[in-house]
Amino acid sequence: MSSIKTLRTDVAIVGGGIVGSSAALALRQMGIGVALLERDLCGSRSSGVNFGGVRRQGRPLSQLPLAQRAHRIWGRLPSLIGTDGEYLRSGHFKIARSESDMASLERYRSQSLDFDLGLELISDARLRERCPWLGARAVGGSLCVEDGQANPRLVSPAFALAAQRAGAQVFERHAVDEVAHDGAMFMLRSGNALEVHAPVLLNCAGAWSGPIATRFDEPVPLRSGNPVMVVTEPMPHFMDWSLGVEGGGIYGRQVARGNLVLGGGAGIAVDADRTRAGSDAIATLAAQAIELLPALRHAHFIRTWSGTEGYLPDRQPVLGPSRTTPGLFHGFGFSGAGFQIGPAAGEVLAELVRDGRSSTPIGAFSIERFFAEEPTTPTPP
């Protein structure tokens, strides 16, 4: 019988997605000891299989300080994690399909002026001139020239690898089976293989964060969502911008190799761990894709996939200290929009550990918001 490995460190992190991994990296850069436990492979879940949009435009205003911080991190990605992860500031264009869509894009631009996103509204003749490839239903849109896209398959694992190079102890294929707290120290146990003891715990387990929050009497209404992604065969390059649509529905981008990556709709959860894109969702996405980009009419889909993201009802993450347990910090529930701000969330978590406060406002993401009202019973995950 092999004896269980026991480890003492400053901070234990559950979850090797982009949030947990970037927190690990930031903590190591502060000289703080880290052990990260990931039940699968780092960046292999939502952080690695999402659409790859790196956009600030369209986020709630409360997220923009965090998004701006992330924007600066993305700008120095190669020096930070040793790869550009195919990150491109290619521009993000949010399409309006009606005058009222256009009005709402204008409203967003004026509301977000303080954040200097540099939004440019484009319509009519200028629209056709700038993007002749766009389908007829588009009447205009809003361009954020410095937003862009990246390859999540490469970026998210690279954060974990960078953290490891910086001295974090990363344990992949180590599911956390037990979490305990004796008032001073947390204890995490993974099977009969590993026990980690640390005074600080970061809950960065994405869609699987609910049980840890509940374990510390903070049940939140976290539910899983399964976005559908499809990719076409490579096509001659015609589009730089990453596209979204006001009101949602479909999003798309063309990668350097020529493939179009498209997302939208909801997939199927086969079981707790596996997801699929169903044929109805693929059909809807295909119809929308042709409408948005008529050039796709004669292309083929070669691949589809889904994933599991954690959603909260207000579509805002939980980011900040626990309300019940000193030393516990949450960073989860990014509701399908965590890829861009993930690295900033990681830095914020590191600051919270070191300083007890964040230099970026995160009040809107407090877990308190689920308990502020009369003590109703929130739906456990």
């Binding site: 492979l41 292999s44 690695g48 398959r153 490469l154 694992p157 690898l161 990719v231 076409t232 065969e233 190799r257 199927i268 086969v270 699929r276 894109a277 169903g278 044929s279 109805d280 693929i282 059909a283 295909a286 119809a287 894709a289 042709i290 796709l296 009419r297 004669h298 292309a299 083929h300 889909f301 070669i302 691949r303 589809t304 996939w305």
Partner: protein, 470 residues
């Protein structure tokens, strides 16, 4: 027969396994749906030329297999009116009791519901690339055979066949019989392998005799046969636009030979994507060097109502496919309360079991070259869809620590192209296992994803029509 009235099983694949499964179901009063990607039944092995082509005799098309081919075709033709037959139809996805089917000629999609499903999806060549394999004029052995059987043409004027496996000599023989110049047959297996395997092979004396006959015939007709070779590369002309020859190592020195086309392959690999999408449990099968959907002796998969038959669940050959197809159908019937001939079922299981020993022998006679990955140069393109080289894969292991197939895919793009790893997956797994020092079974397998083959977006956009037939 009340139980059977409600039964309308769906069979995917109309090769030897699918045809015999359909026959058994029809014999018990059922009218199965038979979905097949080809325009005519027969599968890859008994593929029939398009009806519009001048018909050659079964003897000319299938040689020794003519009688078997004729029997399978005749069985199918007799069933034709008693089954719901959907040729030219690609099953590209499956979920929740429904198959998503793309019908080629009408360019339409449909959803075919099923309660019971027999998966008989067959096999393709096992490809272990060699430098130069992406040159025009290089085909898989199966591809070379299809050109001959289906299109009535040869892949070149002067052809070299290389690799290993029983198909190597069969295709060379078929080409030579059809009048093509076979410049040489280069077998990576050693003569010693074949001799050592003889006792096991003699368990199927008729099959063994055919193999011996092909070799003798080729030798008698002046075809150079080399065994124990290591293919070095396919040579291209100055513009790299066509094949010029092949180079191989014979153990002592490198040798070359001029040719204008190459057929190559290392036996077959199962087409398991549909079983994967259906949720069947997979296990590593050492004999096949592959992860395969698990089936019991009767063909039941791990998923209730899903049965597996033929080469799609492990390469056992055409004769075994016929037996397994019939056996799976009997299992399906029995599982739904239909009385079946249990003695027949036992006989079929016995025959299938007996074939196991012969298969072991085949594997010994034509082993996959265990040193392939070690000798694959860094610049060798493994994944031709995405242009991913062996060097890139090795670097993904050494720099990023990839030790599992899906991780390797995510980080390197291998298997992300049109073939979705169906062609390159075997080679990528061999490279990964070699680079990590892990056993092949431990590096895992690529997860199946829809679509099984690329689908036109325009067709995907059609709401799948509900299916009246099933």
């Amino acid at each position: 027969m009340t139980a059977s009235c409600a039964l309308q099983p769906v069979i995917v694949g109309a090769g030897p396994a699918g045809v015999r499964a359909a026959e058994a179901l029809v014999a018990h009063g059922l009218r199965p749906v038979v979905i097949d990607e080809a325009s005519r039944a027969g599968g890859q092995i008994y593929r029939r030329p398009p009806a519009s082509l001048a018909q050659r005799s079964a003897q000319a098309l299938y040689g020794f297999e003519a009688r078997r081919a004729d029997a399978v075709h005749a069985a199918f033709d007799a069933l034709r009116e008693r089954i719901d037959y959907r040729p030219d139809s690609l099953v590209w996805n499956a979920h929740g009791g429904r198959l998503d089917v793309l019908h080629g000629p009408t360019r339409s999609t449909s959803g075919v519901p099923y309660g019971q499903l027999i998966v008989a999806t067959g096999a393709t060549d096992r490809v272990l690339p060699v430098p130069g394999w992406t040159l025009p004029g290089v085909y898989t052995l199966g591809g070379a055979q299809v050109a001959l059987k289906f299109q009535g043409c040869a892949i070149g004027q002067r052809v070299v066949f290389m690799g290993t496996g029983p198909l190597l000599y069969l295709v060379a023989y078929q080409y030579a019989k059809a009048g093509a110049k076979v410049a040489a047959v280069l077998d990576t297996a050693r003569l010693a392998d074949q001799l050592a395997a003889t006792p096991a092979m003699l368990r199927q004396p008729a099959v063994f005799a055919k193999g011996v006959y092909y070799v003798a015939w080729l030798r008698a007709h002046g075809v150079a046969l080399h065994s124990g070779v290591r293919p070095s590369r396919v040579l291209g002309d100055a513009t790299e636009s066509r094949v010029d020859g092949v180079a191989w190592h014979d153990g002592r020195e490198e040798r070359t030979l001029a040719c204008d086309a190459v057929g190559f392959g290392y036996a077959l690999r199962s087409e398991t994507q549909l079983a994967d999408l259906l949720g069947c449990r997979f296990e590593f099968a050492p004999l096949h060097r592959a992860h395969l959907p698990v089936r019991d002796a009767a063909g039941r998969s791990s998923v209730e109502g899903v049965y597996l038959a033929g080469d799609g669940a492990g390469i056992m050959g055409a004769d075994a496919a016929e037996w397994a197809g019939e056996r799976a159908a009997l299992a399906l019937l029995a599982d739904h309360g239909v009385a079946v001939d249990t003695a027949r079922a036992e006989t079929l299981e016995r025959k299938l079991h007996k074939l196991g020993g012969f298969r072991q022998g085949l594997e010994r006679a034509f082993p996959v070259p265990s040193d392939w990955a070690a000798h694959a140069p860094d610049e060798l393109v493994v994944c031709r869809c995405e242009n991913i080289t062996a060097g890139t894969l090795r670097q993904t292991v050494s720099v990023n620590g990839a030790d599992e197939m899906n991780r390797l895919k995510a980080l390197s793009r291998v298997g992300m192209g049109r073939c979705q790893g169906r062609m390159c997956g075997v080679a990528a797994a061999e490279i990964l296992a070699h680079a990590t020092g892990l056993p092949l079974q431990q590096v895992g397998r690529l997860r199946g994803q829809a679509p099984i083959k690329p689908i036109p977006i325009q067709l995907a956009a059609c709401e799948p029509a509900g299916d009246a037939g099933a």
